[in-house]
């Protein structure tokens, strides 16, 4: 004992001389969503110079925000699950499957809209739980388990659609079936119509010659997108459950030893991703008035890419929901923005891959910064 020399802690206030004061830039680099924000700025600048100015009018913004929102709802769910250490490749197929369940409930069984929505979400809970149980019980990577469900759900949708529609792969008539329901305005159409009409009359936003505003309101999916992104961010950063998500993804063993109910966290997260897919299904089916077998096709990959652009590590334990939010907007901007330019729209796919690669490399560097690895 006596050999232990007293090591005086540095007097209050002064820090270890070997630790450089974290500069503002370093602090900024520690934010997982930095990449997505930087990407958004770059893409905005790019289109500011190349695209028709119509892109950044109110109507143009709504134009690219709508697909961004549809992808973003999935991406936020995917981001939470990725931070929790798992993947869900079945969400794209889940959009189609939920669309079928929801559509069939509305037009085949003629159920009221609220009941149809409830049934669709009940299926989401089942699919999410099944995914989670298989992953947790077998210990197999969720990547491969949910890949199986990517095919199973897509196949079930095809089979189900033919059954529901009597041989076709499309089911129609949802908009009519939902019309007049009290829940319809929450899941379809545009919000704040009155406000936009007033803004149009006041001359604040553009109007058609008839006096109606060019943008009749905010499409509800954009509101859902914003609310879900904010809610997810709050849960992640400010609640115990959020801490458990980081812990479950960072090191499930360590988390378990510290009393974190890792399995429960993962089950809930799988249900959340399936529910996000179901919400997208309900929104888009009501918007289109029909559903088909290709709904949500490849959305699982786009959602994961958006989450990665948003700063999520593929290994889990790190990332941000608000990053996925910005990542999705980047997507919507490029998808729609290219139509405002003279650039061939198929560059979209090249962009997608390029962005993913860049984001993964960038995130890797960030991770080393955060943990002080050398």
């Amino acid at each position: 004992m006596s050999t232990i020399t007293e090591k005086n802690p540095p007097p209050g206030g002064t820090s270890d001389e070997r630790l450089r004061k974290a500069s503002f830039a370093t602090t900024l680099l520690r934010r997982p969503e930095l990449g997505a924000v930087a990407g958004l700025v770059l893409v905005s600048l790019f289109f500011a110079f190349t695209a028709n100015p119509a892109m950044f009018t109110l109507a143009g913004v709504m134009n690219f925000m709508a697909p961004a929102a549809q992808l973003g709802i999935l991406a936020v769910g995917a981001a939470l699950l990725m931070i929790g250490g798992e993947f869900d490749l079945s969400i794209g197929s889940m959009v189609a499957f939920a669309g079928l369940v929801f559509g069939a409930a509305l037009v085949v069984w003629n159920l009221p809209l609220p009941v149809a929505i409830l049934i669709a979400f009940a299926f989401a809970v089942v699919v999410g739980s099944v995914n989670a149980q298989i992953v947790l019980r077998t210990g197999l990577p969720s990547f491969i388990v949910t890949l199986a469900f990517l095919f199973i759900l897509r196949g079930l949708t095809l089979v189900g659609l033919k059954w529901a529609s009597g041989g076709s792969t499309q089911l129609r008539g949802m908009r009519e079936a939902a019309a007049g329901s009290i829940l319809a305005p929450i899941f379809s159409g545009d919000a704040f119509g009155g406000l936009f009409t007033w803004l149009g009359q006041a001359g604040i936003i553009e109007t058609f010659p008839s006096g109606l505003p060019t943008v009749p309101g905010i499409p509800v999916e954009i509101l859902w997108f914003v609310v879900i992104a904010l809610l997810a961010t709050w849960v992640l950063l400010r609640t115990s459950f959020g801490n458990w998500i980081f812990a479950a993804g960072g090191d499930p063993k360590a988390a378990r030893k510290s009393g974190v109910p890792v399995d429960r966290v993962k089950i809930i997260l799988f249900i959340v991703t399936a529910s996000c897919a179901t919400l997208v299904a309900v929104l888009t089916v009501l918007d289109a008035g029909s559903t088909d077998a290709r709904r949500g096709f490849q959305k699982e990959f786009e959602a994961i890419i958006a989450a990665v652009i948003g700063g999520c590590l593929l290994t889990g334990g790190y990332g941000s929901a608000i990053g996925a939010f910005f990542g999705s907007i980047v997507f919507g901007m490029v998808l729609i923005g290219l139509t405002y330019t003279s650039i061939d729209q198929d560059w979209y796919l090249v962009f997608l891959g390029g962005m993913l690669l860049l984001a993964v490399v960038f995130n890797n560097v960030i991770r080393k910064r955060v943990t002080g690895e050398r």
Binding site: T239, A254, T371
Partner: protein, 262 residues
């Protein structure tokens, strides 16, 4: 031997089988408040099984298990924690990517608000973390910095501080010094002593006799799933302990060969 009457934790003739493997075959030990019991044993002696049984991960096959004199069966690590038995594992149960605060309160976050508005009290969590770190003598610049940026010794101390903060009465430390350098080892040993002085019972698992001698009050030697004996400090010399732990003769031979440095 008991300084304060009833031991905080005591096992008698503890047996643990895994199928046909006999991992523990009659282990007896006890630890009281304000003392450090060193559990010494070579690899494969059954140290890990013993820790996991004490910590509620495994259930003993046979034997007596007493917490403050009363028989108890832990069915999960959570049970053990609630009874005041906290374990700091070799891997520390710390997540490098998460902040010091988030790690400190992992699984036991302080919350404010009600129902759906219940949230982590981040400010309080940060303040407590900073204060606890200061008590050990680690100056955490910002509690929101990732644990990955701390040194091994600092991480070990944070893990111990976490267990102490959450009301541990018995602290089980699984080879806390095994991967540390000299300065960091002394930092950890000093902290263990500090914890003991504050009235906790510490079970210090190690295979380094010198580290054990530095802080231990009593030494229990484990070999092939059995306790070979318990000795108070001063009753036994370092090399005797070393030989007992390694099962005797071979080590002496090697030691002689290498000039007595093993």
């Amino acid at each position: 031997m008991d300084r304060t009457g009833t031991p905080l934790i005591e096992v008698r003739n503890l047996v643990k089988h895994f199928g046909s493997v006999i991992a523990l075959n009659g282990v007896s030990m006890h630890v009281s408040a304000g003392e450090v019991l060193c559990l010494l044993g070579d690899n494969g002696a059954g140290k890990s099984t013993l820790i996991n049984t004490l910590a509620g991960v495994h259930r003993p096959t046979a034997g007596e298990f007493l917490i403050e004199g009363r028989p108890r069966v832990f069915s999960s690590p959570r049970d053990a924690l609630e009874a005041g038995v906290a374990t700091v594992y070799q891997d520390l149960a710390m997540i490098p990517l998460m902040s010091v605060t988030r790690n400190f309160f992992m699984g036991q976050e302080p919350t404010v608000g009600f129902g759906p508005f219940k949230r982590i009290d981040m400010k309080r969590a940060d303040d407590i973390t900073r204060a606890e770190m200061k008590r050990i003598g680690i100056d955490v610049r910002e509690p929101q910095q990732a644990v990955g940026t701390l040194s091994g010794g600092e991480r070990q101390c944070v893990a111990i501080a976490r267990a102490v903060h959450f009301g541990a009465k018995v602290l089980i430390l699984d080879e806390p010094t095994s991967a540390l350098g000299v300065a960091q080892t002394s930092m950890v040993l000093k902290y263990i002593n500090q914890v003991r002085e504050s009235g906790l019972g510490v079970i210090f698992i190690t295979h380094n006799v010198r580290h054990a001698m530095a802080v231990g009050n009593r030494f229990t030697v484990l070999n092939r799933g059995k306790t070979l004996g318990t000795f108070a400090k001063g009753e036994i010399a370092i090399d005797e302990l070393q030989n007992l732990m390694a099962g005797g003769k071979e080590l002496q031979a090697v030691s002689a060969e290498l000039g007595g440095t093993v």
